[in-house]
Amino acid sequence: MNVLPILLGVVGLLFPFLVVGVIVAAMRRPGAGVDAGTVIRWFVVYGFTFGLMVVVAQGISDLLGLFLPGGRVLGRAGAADVAGAVSFTLVGTPALWGMWRHVSSRVRTDPAERSSLGWGAFLTVAEWVFLLVGFAALGRGIIGLLGADGSAAPHLVDGLVWGAGWGWLHFSVRPQLPPHPQVNALAGSGGALVGLVAWTVAGISLVSLIADLAYAALVGSPMVGDGFASRRLVVDLVWLLLGGAVWIWYWLVRRPEAGPIRSIYTVAVAVLGGAVTTLTAVAVTLYTVLTWVFGTAGTGAATHFRTLADTVPVALIGAIVWRLHWQEPLGPEGVRARRYLLAGIALVAAATGLGVVVSALLSTLEPPLAGRGSVEVFLAGVTALVVAGPVWLNQWAPVATVGPDDTAARSRRIYLTLLAGVGGLVGLVTLIVLVFRLTEALVEGTSNLIGQLRGPVGVLTATLAVASYHLVLWRRERPAEAARPRRISLVLVAAEPGAIAGELESRFDVDLVAYRLDDAEPVDPARVVEAVERDGGDDLLVVARPEEVQVFHLRR
């Protein structure tokens, strides 16, 4: 089995989560600075352990493959395959055993190491990789077993070995040596994503197969042979069930811990996975219908509507993913982020449509010699507007005019700044293109000025509309920023600085360094906030103990 492409795929798939996880973990642990030596130790110890795990899993699965009836080794493989399997297992297993004794005893006895980024990242990546490789192999094994595609035994062996590795990490290591809760949430969300992606792809393929068969029956010419259809049915069903099982286990049964990671995952999947996929498929479907109704289609109905067999399944499955994740409970900031993200994407899509409509309008100034371009350009623009416009209005209209609480919200400021700023920038670049083409046309004396200019004019119109509207709002809401929380720099010493830090960050614009106070009882965070508020200083040292919250002024 070639593991490398799968590993690369995993890294690619999970890279954004990894980055988010590292940032969130770093942000949520104020004062917990990590020196370079520790990072290098993590890298060596955990990287080495992970490498050994892969070597052992590969070795054992190859070794078992030797004994398969009709298997790869007894049948055809040469000495190199046998030697590879034996050396991987013989060397890897004792090395992993020794390494694991060292790692697990350190993690067990040192709570700081257990909640560290190194352990969390190792456990998360290892569980993801074993899940994905085991899942992929098991699926292919079952498909082979059912006689739909490929051979069964080698994949089943791989699936069982890697699956056993995943089970050990998931059911034994993780509960016994639990990492930081947010790292747990990252692993849980990643597992759910693996299941969801498999379920979604298989679901789309399955519905599309049904649509293909219906289409073939309708048109009267079988486009797919019976054997092909039943094989595809088996393949889709296997992935649908396996993916669904993994998703249900991670998302519904185990449930990732509530917090920023789960919120980011939920919003990203609901908006980027569900909404964008659904709206794009709906737009293509509508465009296909419109071009038929307005008579610009150059082919018969059967050929013209062929695309619907692809777009309708995507819209259907996308809508299910959208709805499933849209219903997830989120905090107020999560709901806001979701609203602005969807509104922003829908607005950009609608603005594209507006630009295309303007371009189509201008194209009529110079009737063509031949071709049916301008009507289709117009219909494409209208489709984008009709599909994305209402989504934008639905998300944006309730918050178009809001109170000071909302105008100070970070997600709204980012939204307005991005749309006003990036819109302005795009407008400027388009203006440069426009003037460039105009000058070029005037110097060269081309007779097709409108053809050259209508594209940039369309983009410019749309970006100006978007940027100026948001610039007006941005300026109108700026005074609210003056009422922003006080900015302070603070050194906190407390028994449980985490909870107090969270409370302080929600009340002040605070630059915080926290130290844990040993052998002391926790203090109610509200008392610390009250003491800082009463003091009024900008550079503070706060020592919080149950008997007294002391505030000292510092000088730089």
């Binding site: 794009t280 737009a283 293509v284 509508l286 465009y287 150059g298 082919t299 899509a349 594209t352 449509g353 507006l354 295309v356 409509v357 303007v358 189509a360 309008l361 194209s363 009529t364 110079e366 009737p367 063509p368 010699l369 031949a370 071709g371 049916r372 371009g373 301008s374 009507v375 289709e376 350009v377 117009f378 494409a380 623009g381 209208v382 489709t383 984008a384 507007l385 599909v387 994305a388 416009g389 209005l393 944006w396 209209a397 178009a400 005019t401 081309t446 007779s447 097709n448 053809g451 050259q452 594209g455 509309a465 509207y469 007006v472 709002l473």
Partner: protein, 145 residues
């Protein structure tokens, strides 16, 4: 939706769409050129290719059409505009701007334009297309499949 700016934005967009729709619908017909002129011949040739009427297209050309020369591309939306034309004795050149439109979905439309020319020769008093730009490929007799 009490925000006036928002109402203006939405209203303006709707108005623009309606006006554009009316204009595009009423002015969708290409200009008709004199069938006896080089421009008219090019127009008729391109329309024949678009409709898949190979016989008619070949009647208007000096050589056979290569099927593969245009078949994959006519499904893409495109438009041809006249830039200018010039007649030199029994030869003529019609310069055009070819714009192709495409995109996976209505959200990601693209278009690209390029200038090219049709070369025509006069045969027995009628203009015939002798060389045509991509994607309306003509091909030499020996290469015809």
């Amino acid at each position: 939706m009490r925000d006036r700016t928002l109402q203006l934005l939405v209203g303006g967009t709707l108005l623009l769409v309606v006006v554009s729709g009316v204009v595009v619908a009423t002015r969708r017909q290409p200009v008709e050129f004199d069938p006896g002129s080089p421009e008219g011949t090019v127009q008729e040739f391109v329309e024949a290719v678009l409709e898949g009427d190979v016989d008619r297209a070949e009647e208007l050309a000096t050589q056979p059409l290569c099927d593969f020369g245009f078949d994959p591309f006519v499904r893409e939306d495109f438009q041809i505009s006249l830039i200018d034309s010039e007649i030199r004795g029994d030869r003529a050149e019609v310069r055009v701007l070819i714009t192709t439109f495409g995109g996976e979905s209505p959200f990601e439309r693209y278009e690209s334009s390029y200038e090219d020319r049709f070369l025509l020769v006069r045969v027995d008093g009628d203009w015939k297309v002798d060389s045509s730009p991509w994607p309306f490929g003509l091909c030499p007799e020996e290469n015809t499949p």
